[in-house]
Point group: C2
Chain length 121, copies 2
């Protein structure tokens, strides 16, 4: 059965080096489990569903319109559907994402980093 | 907004000490994000939806009817819906679980450790 395998996140993260391009590493009901490397500023956007950010390595800032939230390794945040957010990582951060399979990384915005078909590792 | 908070998993895990009793630490669309401490043998059971096990600390064995899968810290496994499994941890293991809100910890089996209303931390 395809999905019945143990996934090591560090091994998956060693397979790519670009930023803001989540890779699919698992399927969970209607969601994808993804990993990504973040560095620098992303864009303001929102999604039609909730999105989980779980920091595996480094530090992550999520700008919201009314506050900034800071995540360290071992911390997670769920951005509720419809809430505009802009991720920012001063240094490289490794992040686990869980979100519906039809969620685009840039949400309601289409730009050069929009990934319509994320790679599966 | 209730769900817009950063959650530190180690802090949540420090709040309880019993085994096989997952606590709710977040909401993600139709799922709960839970943490649990496992030690010893659980029971054979299955669920009607996929279930994520992500090992935060220690080692976890998931017995399946045809194989045993071993997870270390930083590794995850999705047990597909309908697949019978029995978790086992020789030493205490800390685990992140993500599964639909109506999923029971003992799945299709009701026994003394069945938790109908998991505590929210």
């Amino acid at each position: 059965m395809e999905s019945l395998k143990v996934v090591n996140l560090k091994e998956k993260l060693a397979l790519f080096h670009d930023y803001w391009a989540p890779r699919i590493v698992g399927d969970l009901n209607q969601d994808y489990i993804k990993v990504a490397k973040f560095k620098g500023e992303f864009i303001w956007h929102s999604h039609e569903e909730d999105e989980l950010f779980f920091v595996l390595k480094g530090n992550l800032c999520i700008h919201l319109r009314d506050q900034d939230l800071h995540l360290r390794e071992g911390e997670f945040l769920v951005i509720p559907k419809g809430v505009e957010h802009k991720p920012y990582a001063k240094e490289e951060a490794h992040v686990l994402l869980i979100e519906p399979k039809n969620t685009l990384n840039t949400g309601n915005v289409e730009e050069k980093r929009t990934l319509k078909n994320p790679q599966r590792l």
